[in-house]
Structure formats: structure tokens, C-alpha cells
Amino acid sequence: MIKKVLIANRSEIACRVIRACKEMDIETVAVYSDVDAGALHVQLADESVCIGAPQASESYLNMERIIQTAKDSGCDAIHPGYGFLAENPEFNRKVRESGLIFIGPEPEPMELLGSKVASRQTMIKAGVPVIPGMNGASLEIKDFEVAAEKMGFPVLIKASAGGGGKGMRVVNESSKLKEAVESAMRESKSAFGSDEVFLEKYIESPRHVEFQVAADNFGNAVYLFERECSIQRRHQKIIEESPSPIMDTELQRRMGETAVKVIKTSNYTNAGTVEFLVDKDKNFYFLEVNARIQVEHPITEEVTGIDLVKLQILIANNERMPFSQEDLKQKGHAIECRIYAEDAENNFMPSSGKILYLKEPIGPGVRYDSGITTGSIVPVFYDPVLAKLIVWGKDREEARKRMILALKENIVLGVKTSIRFMIDCLEHPEFINGNTFTNFIEINMFNKMLPVIDNEKIKNCLMAANLHSSLKNKSKVISGENGNIATPWQTIGKWEICSSNN
């Protein structure tokens, strides 16, 4: 039985895993880099160990250091979270070889599914539908040109080792292909250490629909229904929901059974996600398997009532699946908005800095999976996810309205966030009508990238800025009807009035 877990991650997912462990009476060890000494996950864990310099390669990607820390602190298992080492088969193997339990799938299926090229070939053989594309990896630009001409533009360049949209490019004409391939290779090399990229036919106006799956070590496998994650910027999800607005019972059963076939074909165990694209005629195509807990897992938890992180630990403990497919039901509707430190007005450029003030949203059906508090530092070294706001409602409309309210009540000052942008998405008629395609933002939100802030709003904010500044900097209050600079006596007098509890 697992008694003590090292969480090889940071931010909100580390906090999420720590909480699940605590509920199961499992001790927790957080690891952190120099810049994360005051991070929330360090505060939450029972123990914490600094594992190195801020650069991820020196800390959160340092396999030997992490495994040694787990052993030194008496852990019997490692939870990798998502990102960093979560889908690295070498890490997975090393953890197991050192005698520890890796909370996740075995290294072999992880390796197979980690290569988009290899997993695609396996799925074609198993009869799982895939998108037309270039077979096999290639590094010659000529091969890309031949393949692109054959399938016709637009084409999509993808990193073989990729995920999270990194290394992905859409190319509309052959003259842009070379530059895009080179840029994708560089980005893939820097993000994943491999410059292997491939091409596929770009399906226009598709929906991204993924199925949560889980399998135990005794051959039991289930699907926990879908999540639609079509609202994406930079090919990265930002708003997710469950169920998908287009789902019907028949399609759900077919896709769910295909998802189970995918994990059975690859001998996958533990929790995972099978991603599909669904076109306007409800044809679906296998994209890839995410061999880890997903960022957006909470919406599945909200509609099924199943704690997926606890399920991961249970399966890693070699226990049987506690339910069968027939036991699982989808209830109500859940939406997640990812609160990133980023600038929606500037192409979603990541933002870093200090959280000067945080107010977490509350209310019925509201859940806030956060990695920050007031005073937290958002370092430049990592993915800028701050928190995930999840709401549940009895139906899609109730969930949508709840989410808008909760976003408005979520105050994050000190870094830029896309809170306003996500409110605008949720209020858009196309979103309300469920017309959510992966190009939703491009098509519907492009002219909202630079929101018009009206004068009234600026004035109100100016007043707050002035007031706050005065309260904080007692000596700078300007007094007198003539606007003269105050004498120290006047300033002190003014301050006392302002600060009294009236």
C-alpha cells in the first residue's frame, strides 16, 4: 500500500494531488526549485525538499534528483502530475527500477503513445479511425513538401513528442511550408528535446472531443465520458466542458467504446485521455492519448462524482476498478476556465510577476483548483497556469451563467489574465448555441482581442487607483481646493481621516 508520495510537479496540479493524498491518509512530499520556496504546493505538503535552480532542467526535470529525494524521504511512490516528466518513459522506468511506484501507466504503452507516429500506426492496424496524414517521421523538408501537396493544403505540422500545442503550425500554402516546418522543429526541440515533426490534413471547423478512460491491472477498462475542449488559443485549450454540446447517446457509446479499444490495444493502465477530432457530420478521428492526469480532469469529476486522482492512486496500489461501465453516469454540466497569467490583448503572451491581490470566487457549484495565493510569485520559467475555475450546473446554461459570475468574482491583480476574454467567449451567441469549433477564437473573438474600454470604466478605475495609491502612500495625498501640494501637517491630518473605520 502506498503510504507516502512525492509529487514531482508544482502549482495547481501539485496542490490537487496533495489534497487527494491527504484525504487518503497518505503522506506527501513536495519538491520545489529555488524560486518556488514560497509556492502554495510547498505550503500544503507534509514535507518539502528544494531540488535545484529555477530552470526546469535543473529542478522539475531532474530525474535523478527527484528519485533520490523520494528515496531519501521514505516515499514509496511518485505522482508526476502533468507536464514536466509526466509522460517521459525514461523517468517512468527509472522510478520503477529504483523500487518506487510510478502513479501512471507502464513505460511501454507510454512510449508507444508518446510517439504520435507510432501510436497512429498501431491505431490504424486496430481499426481505429485516424486523420489522413504523413506516415512515419521525417526530417527532410522535401518529404514534407511532397506529402503536403498530396494531401492538399491546409496542412497541420505537429511535433511527434508534442502536446499542449507546442511545435504545432497550420500552413495554408506551399510557400509558407519550409519556414513553418523549421520553426516547429525549433520549438519542439526546445520544449521536448526532439525536433521530430510530421504533417497531417487539417480538418476545418472540427471539435476537440476527448474521452477520459481508466484501466486497472486486471483487464477492467472503462470510459468516464467526454470533455469538449474546442475553445483554444495558440492550439492550447482555455475553456472546456462536459458533456459536449453535440453529444448524443449513440455517438457517446461509439466514441467511448473506441476509446476503451485504444487503451486496450496499447495495454494501457491507470487513468488517461483519448483525444478525438469530431467533424460537422459527427465523424470522429483518433488524435492521441494523453498518458497522464489532464489539466481539465475536474469537469469529469464534477459530472461523474469520481475523484480521478484518488482513482489513479488506487490503481497504482494494484486494486481493482471500484465500478463498472454500467455504474457510471453523467450528471449535469461542468465548465472549466483556465486562469493563465497571459495577455489576451497581446496574442496571449505569457505574463509573469507577483500576485499582489487574489480573491477566489465562491458560490454554489464553484470549485477553484489553484496554485497561487496573494503574494505568490509567477516565475518566467514555467507554464503560466495560475488556477482553474470549475463550475457545475444542472444544465449547460446554468453552468455557463455560473461561470460568468464566478469569473467576475475572481480578482487577480499583479499579472495579466484572460478573465475578461473568457467572459466574452462565454457570452458570445455562438458559444451559447454550442457552436464550439477549434477555430472559435479565430473566427468569433478576433475583433475582441483589443477590447474597447469605455471612458466611464477608465474613470472609475482611475478613482480606485488614486484612492489606493493614497492609502498606500500616506504622504502623497494632495489636499486643498486649489490643488496645492499638502504640507506634512495637512497630509497627516488627511491620512487619519481616510484610515479611520468609517
Binding site: S183, S352, K457, C461, A465, H468, S469
Partner: protein, 165 residues
């Protein structure tokens, strides 16, 4: 006090009378009731409706959140006041990264002609590539960085200047 929103400078101060505050914004007077919940949170009545305003500051900025919007104001420092307008020159574009990161590729060389909107340099921060563009038509007068170099957000990477006719 003097603060900037985007390119507009505002002169603002206030007087307090009981629970009402009279603000003077660029000469325009506005009186509103405000309850100070704490240093960061103000409960106000605007046209009869209750609203909450949230505020926080760091050395150079004031951050305000209001009804789902977040606005960032720049503090105007004493030393900048005399030179206001000088930094926004249209004859010269000093290209800086939006945040600390590393240089992926320099797309131009000194002496090269560029047009407004031309890509000048590719930087990477938080594992994402972004291309920075020239804001003016002109000529590259200075390239201060090399590929692979780590840069800070205040570093001037490339300077574009309008050609003197």
C-alpha cells in the same frame, strides 16, 4: 497624482467629505460615495448601483479590477515628467522583448531596410516562440543580441530608425 493608461496621461486627485469623495480627473469633478472595505477593495455606488473596485500596486504600476475587466496603469515618475512625449518617438523603434526569455533567431542585420510590420527577431519565453515586429518603416541601426542569448524585458534587442531624407 499623475498616471498613464496606454498612451493617455491623467492628472487626478481627490477630497473626502464624510463618505463621499470628490475626484478631480483632468479638471473634471466627480463625486461618488465610497466605502473602503480594505486597502485593496472599495465598495462604490455608481449611478445608484453597487460595484466593487479592487486595486493593488507595485513599484511601477497600479492594477485595478472592475466588473470583470482588469486595467493596468503606469505610474508617472517624477523624472519622466519633464520628458513626456520624448520616449514615444515615431522616428525610432527600440524593440524590447515582452518578458525575459531567450533569442531564437535574429531575422535582420544592421543596415537592412525594414517595413512596418516586418518580423525582426524571434524570442522564446515560457517555451513559446514569438516574433517581434518593427513598428515603423526604416533601417536597422543596431542589433544588440545574438541567437541563444538570454535577455531581460528591459533590454533593447534591435533598433529601427527612420531614414533621414
Amino acid at each position: 497624482m499623475e498616471i498613464k493608461f496606454k498612451n493617455d496621461v491623467y492628472q487626478i486627485d481627490y477630497e473626502k467629505n464624510d463618505s463621499e469623495y470628490t475626484f478631480n480627473i483632468n479638471g473634471e469633478k466627480l463625486t461618488i460615495p465610497i466605502y473602503i472595505v480594505n486597502d485593496n477593495c472599495f465598495s462604490v455606488k455608481i449611478n445608484g448601483k453597487s460595484k466593487s473596485l479592487y486595486a493593488a500596486e507595485d513599484e511601477n504600476h497600479l492594477f485595478i479590477s472592475f466588473d470583470g475587466d482588469s486595467l493596468t496603469f503606469d505610474k508617472v515618475k517624477e523624472e519622466e515628467k519633464d520628458f513626456s512625449g520624448a520616449s514615444g518617438s515615431e522616428d525610432k523603434d527600440e524593440i524590447r522583448p515582452p518578458m525575459p526569455g531567450s533569442i531564437v533567431k535574429v531575422l535582420v542585420e544592421e543596415g537592412q531596410q525594414v517595413a512596418e510590420g516586418d518580423g525582426v527577431i524571434i524570442v522564446e519565453a515560457m517555451k513559446m516562440e514569438s516574433t517581434l515586429y518593427s513598428a515603423i518603416d526604416g533601417v536597422i541601426t543596431s542589433v544588440n543580441v545574438k541567437e541563444g542569448q538570454q535577455v531581460d524585458s528591459d533590454d533593447v534587442l534591435v533598433i529601427v530608425e527612420k531614414e533621414q531624407v
